[in-house]
Symmetry: C2
Subunit: 364 residues, 2 copies
């Protein structure tokens, strides 16, 4: 770093690329007039429909914050799913440089990067607070960056749903036997768990879920939580709304940045992007916590039959989940490396939570 610092102190112009890794010195290098004048217009592809509640709003918030903070020097144009690339090709588009940025859910590209899902959601896994502690102070982000680096993508946590719901069912679930033959839309590791207990997983895009449920093409579906589920009208197509969201105690979303594009940003704009991502990571969770509560109240008022999955069913799903997660990790060396570190760390957080965060819910 020394030579660069001397150059900067002497007011010698340096290429933006040479600044990568120097962001700690942004304050010290106050005089970089050529770079300050430079402005950028970036594309951000997303996995969300236009103005999608919660997660889509978060992507828009990110773009707005970056533009405000940079006084227009970094403009981010947000593209809805399908406008530039399909919902599930966000990671690929950023990797190949079609867009400088993307916003999606890590487990959408598990087919390409199996380790990605461990930064996203795990059945019977961490809630949002625990995921954030692991990511930001437990080594998670470092592993995430390492896993995505070969694809030329820099990831940042950028939004969380908090606890989801178990989903909408047109069949009562009173025992593990009731899951046998159940046709349910539920992706990811949760879907694999359902398959192992005899269910049938059917996948489809958001726009088809309502009709599939209403026509009986599927018996059940989980989506996100009351806020998004209500917007999709699922309460009009199903009899029972089950809790808790064992399959996704949280989903963390990601900001993807093309590393070559990132390296062209001056240190101040890099810092702005990082802080905007962190803002959205927290803000979206607050939004979901407030709006899920409000939507659940509305749904109950409208007569929705909200039920809890029986303990026996949850116990079986938990037992099967442990094996499914271990198997998913074992199938890929990078995933295995992440999961071994994460599993050990989460076990420590869970133990601490027993007498603290968990107990606060119990005593009040």
């Amino acid at each position: 770093m020394k030579r660069r610092q001397i150059l900067a102190a002497a007011g010698v112009g340096i290429a933006a690329g040479a600044l990568v890794g120097c962001k700690e010195e942004a304050g010290a290098n106050a005089a970089r007039p050529a770079e300050e004048a430079k402005s950028f217009t970036w594309k951000m592809v997303t996995s969300w429909p236009k103005n999608f509640p919660g997660v889509g709003v978060g992507a828009e918030r990110f773009a707005k914050l970056v533009e405000q903070m940079s006084n227009g020097r970094l403009k981010v144009k947000v593209y809805a799913a399908g406008e530039l690339v399909p919902a599930l090709e966000v990671f690929d588009a950023v990797s190949r440089g079609t867009a400088e940025m993307g916003h999606g859910a890590p487990y959408y590209w598990k087919g390409k990067v199996p380790a990605a899902q461990f930064f996203c959601a795990l059945p019977f896994g961490p809630n949002a607070q625990e995921m954030n502690a692991w990511l930001h102070y437990g080594g998670g982000i470092q592993l995430w960056e390492e896993v995505y680096k070969p694809y030329g993508v820099l990831p940042m946590a950028c939004g969380a749903t908090g606890v989801q719901t178990a989903g909408w069912f047109n069949k009562e679930i009173n025992s593990v036997d009731d899951l046998k033959g159940l046709k349910m839309r539920t992706p990811g590791l949760g879907g694999e768990v359902l398959t192992r207990v005899g269910g049938t997983v059917v996948n489809m895009p958001a726009g088809e879920i309502f009709t599939a449920l209403q026509t009986g093409a599927i018996d059940a579906t989980e989506w996100i939580g009351p806020y998004n589920d209500q917007a999709l009208g699922l309460h009009k197509a199903a009899k029972y709304y089950y809790t808790p969201g064992w399959q996704e105690p949280n989903v963390t979303f990601e900001l993807d940045i093309n590393i070559k594009a990132w390296e062209t940003l001056p240190a101040d704009l890099q810092a702005i992007v990082r802080a905007a991502a962190r803002d959205v990571n927290a803000d979206m969770l607050d939004d979901y916590n407030a709006k899920n509560m409000e939507a659940m109240e509305q749904l109950k008022k409208e007569g929705v039959d909200v039920r809890r999955l029986p303990d026996e069913v949850l116990a079986k799903l938990k037992e099967v989940s442990a094996g499914v997660v271990d198997a998913a990790a074992a199938a890929d060396p990078a995933a295995q490396k992440v999961w071994q570190q994460q599993k050990a760390y989460l076990a420590r957080l869970y133990e601490y939570a027993e007498a603290n965060e968990k107990d606060i819910y119990a005593i009040r």
Copy 2:
């Protein structure tokens, strides 16, 4: 707004003061060369000793982020408690303009602004996630701004401890009777609760706690949580470490900004300050969640006797707490207004949490 937008679009120079309330338009008003060149050096007084783990680190992170993002256009010099003003006079100093910014805990100035404590911590009250949902999407921030406006101070949430511990005791607590005559350092509403069940509250600065506990001048103390408590060496002066932190399921810290100084900042620097505060608000919680866990492991390894307060004791404290919080609110019209709104909102969040966030802890 129309006239201002026209002026800005025409490239006419406008005073920074006139921009207050226009931050949404920052991106549109890209051309404000005179303002962009302006730079600021601000003082930030804090309630924390130099390099204090957790909360003090958060104040330093805020200053660093703002400087990085603004490329040195807004420099924030952080002052430890006592350097410019004493720890508990941060709010006053910002109110009268001695410093443009401050970082402290809202309940430190409850003598002057009784409503402040409702934005900070409540016995048997909200955890960090719930406090954040209320503040950012439940009307909390708007009330907070309204309460501080007469003092010329703009508040922002800027850090959270998460669940604290009940504290260090040199006496076993097996029943409510054991609290009678107990001399304990525990400030705020928790202290009032202890007084009502027969304890004696002794207040003192952080630097005196260890000696007071060791010499028997006090029988017990609560401080923050394992991370900060361990740093203070409290485990070397007390026999028992009790959980859970019924008196403070979370403490939210605040960034105070002198409103007149705020109005001199261009919209981009205002956006940078807001995002930095939001970053620290999340980051500090992640830091505490990780470090509290690690510190508790260390303390247990060193043989600390960690215990849970008996249900009977917690039930009594809860009952008394409800009355103490209501009475604190009733004594001040602004506090009463805040508490009536907050109480109703939190009750809804708590009900939602029962089948969701709380249940996730139960099922795994």
